[in-house]
Assembly symmetry: D4
Homo-oligomer: 251 residues x 8
């Protein structure tokens, strides 16, 4: 459509119905996105197997459901994060195909599953309280077309539990480490593998964990190379970044 | 060697020179690394094209030179970060092949360059003062076998300078964004591309930048999906993580 | 009245009913505001088209209603910020003309609208959760006599949405940028325009946004010249400052 | 030039030397800034009486001098902030017209002074140690075409010194308040005037001033409406924002 | 009783019923408070007109009432701070003389009022939301035998309201300044008077007030000499310290 | 069992049913914990008189009860911390022997009490609000086989109350000091005794206590040698560490 | 002189040389300080035995010497704080009577010593490194006319050293407690005495003392009533406040 | 001597030279330490094999040497921490027996070495930059009579290096873990052993390590039970606490 817009301009110019001055001026005044620039490529890329995302926290169930319907109508899949069961109920009332991952607090509407990932995305988490964030990461990566493995409740304070999963960890293409009180876990895993590790600090903990700050700082200062960090509790962001890293169809 | 150690155990057991009890007991008391576990795989992985790393800050030129010599003797390449010109002088005195990347403060000793990267690792930085950290990231990625592009001195406050490089940015396989006073740059780049973006906050700035804290927090809370963050000023870490993401020979 | 007070002093002195010593002494003991100083000019200035303001948070509906009535009786317009719907109900019961801007949480009682602004005050916000603060800024500026434009839900992570509004942004006399997780937006807008930009960090966000701190620091360290910042969530303050900047009748 | 680029495209299309497909494709691939968009308007605006700015801190005298020469060659005036006397010496060696404002640590090269401001920009500062930042603000505003007043060394702890300048303060079009240990000064001045007040916290102080944090927070939470804040020690930013507010030729 | 304990020791020694060794040993093993040391002097001092204090927050109404009864039985007056109306109800059920200062959240049981203060303790507060803390300070000082004045709702943003009370302020023996968003008030008052000023930051405010931190830091870095600070919201502490300063019967 | 696993390997190798290559390979692939390593010793140590621990906060009563049952079935004692009375009710329904220490919020199931401690573990706390944390420490130490003393409600502001317990304090083998608003208590006790002191900051307090930060920092910077610190409110951790220190059967 | 200014106004009015309107108008336009208001009373109060104060840090020796000369010429005594020995050398060159208290880094020029204090101002400090701040407090109080006692190097970690001075402490009219790593000292002293205690946190310490923050927070949250706090390292402020509290000639 | 003081009192009373009233009164007025209380026991305990300690930082070489001489004269051994080589030179000039541990920056003067420890005190450190703090801990423990082991440069990022020392770690009576950028090390070691672990965060690191804060918080929130923490860089404190734990002659 954008291109046809520009094409018409040339045709009208060729037909003599606008002067060269007006043609140049028209171009300058075109809305940005009509120019077929990066943003469109970007969107196209996003649509290659990746659904659009709704951050449900702070939106009413009705608002979320309305946005989801509009997305579906536009041909997009839907991923809703931080969704309460009330929000899901409203979405499911209108979109019966919607699936709710309760622990991850994620709503998914997906027509067909595409396998776009190269290898295994592995989600490792430290404590049982870290599981909601870990599940958000895992479900996000699954919806984005990856095979996802889960190793939950392994901590550095009982490091043999982690080491029992050594083989699986070494086979992963990307590892996501989710931890609140054991930020150290990211360092240990980062030291074991030669693959990218994405660390997710969680706000789980008390006292000097200061809402995830302790885990965040520990993960950032970790000496293990290859570890990068996302925002506290941002399981979605980790799953999304892991999916970008793991995509089969990229250079 | 480790395997031969274990193999000898079986042979001595077979030969009857030790009892089954002693054999089992011996195994338990073997030093961990003799067991041929993950760590060895890990090391092997590390050696596939990646040199060992010396963090020179806080070490004397003599210490750095000694470590470098030992590494070379063991057949490893050498990457020394945060190296002063004094440190380089001492290293170069003993290892004439050593190369100094002054702006990056990096010393490199590399026998042959291997091209192990899939696509372009692009380093984007905001201000001229961010360049040392950006160069550390770029040189690290180069030494680790990647083709590296550099777009320096593009900031969001004059966003057209960034957009002039749109084509290059869209072609990168991984983008590293280095910024101190313009943490926003990571968000903007993250919104443009559909590839992994690694953000490096720098301690450049004054006042409320609080030694890089402002950029760090801004990068972490960025809404752009696909952005992950490393420690303040950790150009090496970003270059290393980008290299892991970009490796050709991984799943 | 103050002047007459002083005038009487001179008259009583002239009439010989007080000595010069007593006159001088009287002057020294006059309450400060009776002297007709700056504060009166200041108040007069404030009354030129600007209503008085009630910060409703922490006051009961009854208290707010009582203060509003007293203001009206004194001839002032009323602007109540951070007002719940309960507070509005009580105010409306007594002052039927009171208008409630629900999203902005603002109560307005205004006899006649004066147009005192020179140009357009434009309010730009990043996420849907930032809208209450953005609306507080917008309604404040409207009540203070400005034409106000709104561009909501444009973020740097999808910067083409922002650029689609380029023309409007360039025409504004003052721009207010409201953002919680995308503090970067202030930098980008500040880089686009040659007009004053007032940035309002919001407490929207989670994790390392630390109640608005990330956005606040990012906005303060922004390299874009012409950007100034108000307190976290202080939409009113931004609308007020924008109105002062945009006043037609000032030097 | 950009326009001529586009114009040529239409002419070559008209002449039949390129197809309509190639023309459309060409347009998409043009470097962004060639399109004559906002950024050019923005630049033009910047050039209306405002020199370009060099942040000298972290650059060598040679680098600063080189940049300054390039700017002058391009017809721009030059404003160099955070410039040491060594930097000035090098600049002056090459550009004899360069002027050094020692206390402000600012270098200025300006062909002719344009008066573009509407009213008085008044810089008020609390302590003698705040003067360098206050001077940076004042010189910036002067170079940008404003009449600038200075009231230094007035603090709230001896508030009568401030009030002795009441008349001047009330006549200002914009007031810049610079204070480190007396962040309160911004509140007091903000309460006196009905004009925009820009507060600049400084890093002057000790103990719980924590490098300007105390003043910054105090200024942000100030109850005085119309006060906005810039980064700690950012005199330039305050002078620049005040100039934008005070420009005669804007809506 | 303690003395009699020691006296008995001497008498038993004199009577020959214990040896000198046992007497010395006995002394060493006496409980500390039996020795009649500083703590007793201290207690005696405390009892001179000052009631004991119960911090009610975190105690049940029953617990508070029980403690209050025990104190009364021991002849002490009672001051209960941070007391809810439920707590008061329980206390009043058992001690009908108990008085509740609702705004100050303080319960008082006092047999007779002693006037032990030299001059006026004046409590000045900035906003209506600061009043509970200001009242806690005022009631504490009253119960401790001082004449107390109150000037509420005077802020630096409208400094003429403060100055209208100049005479009263200058007559005070001690001034307590209570403020959350206008920490500046302590500086201004401190600059007006030549008497001790005790500043109480309050947690009132939002955004960058960070639970009272902004006011606390501002008050600590104030340039006004003679200002000291107590904990955030600690009205009781300020009233207590003011009472110690104002006591008639001290050196 | 692990040993028998390895033993079988040798026997099958001896019997010729596997080659030496397969035997070595098998060993490498054994799950880590089968190797009889440190972790097993560690577990054995833990089981010597110490029950397993469930952190109940964030788990449902049903989850806690299920875990407790599984532990009992495995022959372990049970210690559940941060347990609500609802959680206890569910546990007690299934395990009638379970005991609830309400103030400590601790559930204990213990078959027989073993006395494994050398000396007295003494828990000293400052305020009544610190008691839950102090009790958690005390009950933990008791369950782990120590004789435990309690001295509650002694603070440095009335230091004679502390000194009245001098004898008891000097006899303790380990002292745990629990304090929120009186972090100083750890320094004072640390200065009195020549035994290890474990300090537990609590989140009790208001204002500048910042959730226990003030007490934490004060305890860390204490000049008294021999004082170590655990996380804010971590009574369990202090009780556990004290038990390790006090164990009779260690070197 | 101010009064004579006003007096002249009345006389000129009486003489008919100005109209009543002009007289009233004149009064309004008089510079504030000419009005003989509070500030003058304040100044007079300050001069009653108290010298003016120069904060020398950040001023050159020449500047300090010049200010000191001007003060002397105006009849004032001089107190210079944070003065280096270089600064003293310059001052002494011009004002031979100037005295330097090296440890306190204080310069004093005082014509005659007035004894204006009621009782003893006692300065108690914890470590030898706290002595410079303690001496600044002590010298300030001495210069302001108080008898000053010093008890240095007493800490809570060896509390018997403090208690050995019990008698002296109990006799003080005001106690100043100076401590960096032993913030607890303020609580302990505050619990011993029934007199005002002013706590001065110092920046002495390392690690988690964070430049005095640990001591500051500990002193603020102290449970001991009657303790107020000044800025980190602000010995002068404490000495000044203590002098105000201890003045003989106040209500 | 103290006892003889008290004994004389009884004798003089017995002899009739003082009345019972005077005797009781005398006792009350005795200096505290004359009473033979805890502090003396405490001192005696300290002297059992433990030298006195001088914190040399902030003291001149002359001061340190003088204190050391006084201690020796009083029969005490000497331990000087944070001592520069200049300080040692001055001490050695006067006390030829003084030994300097350069890496630990510790001066020791010890007449005879007493072995008072039960088991091995093991110091484990992560990076080469952590060694000075680790050595301070090790030398302190050695001087206090313990057998000390050292395992340096083992980090969690290469956890096999740590595990190679498994046997030694499991044999230790107390483990001290010293780490700056790998705070995780304390968790891992704490999970391996069933003995007390003392964690020492160091200020080594950059960026988000914030002077040791990251390591400190990570160590405090560690899930491994039995881990306690001392101040950042406080190797001495860890060595001292470990010695108290390891003492042979305690309950």
């Amino acid at each position: 459509m954008n291109e046809s817009h520009i094409r018409q301009l040339f045709e009208r110019f060729q037909a003599g119905s606008i002067s060269i001055d007006d043609a140049v001026s028209s171009l300058r005044n075109l809305p940005f996105e009509d120019m077929g620039f990066a943003t469109v490529d970007h969107h196209r890329a996003l649509r290659r197997g990746f659904p659009e995302v709704i951050f449900c926290s702070g939106k009413t169930p009705l608002q979320v459901a309305a946005i989801a319907e509009r997305m579906l109508a536009a041909g997009s899949d839907v991923l809703g994060t931080r969704a309460s069961s009330e929000t899901y109920a409203e979405v499911a009332r209108r979109i019966p195909d919607a699936v709710y991952h309760a622990e991850a607090r994620v709503i998914v509407v997906q027509k067909e599953k595409k396998a776009v990932g190269r290898g295994l995305v592995l989600v490792v988490s430290a404590g049982t309280s870290d599981i909601p964030v870990a599940e958000e990461a895992a479900v996000t990566a699954e919806v984005m077309g990856n095979e996802v493995g889960r190793i939950f409740d392994v901590g550095v304070a009982g490091i043999h539990r982690l080491f029992a999963h050594r083989e699986t960890i070494l086979q992963a293409a990307v590892v996501i480490v989710v931890a609140g009180m054991e930020g150290a876990l990211a360092s240990v895993v980062g030291g074991l593998v030669a693959r990218p590790v994405i660390a997710v600090p969680t706000s789980v903990g008390y006292g000097a964990s200061f809402g995830g700050l302790a885990a965040l700082l520990g993960m950032l200062t970790s000496c293990a190379s290859g570890v990068t960090v996302v925002n506290i509790d941002n399981g979605f962001g980790a799953g999304y970044a892991a999916s970008l890293i793991n995509r089969r169809d990229t250079p």
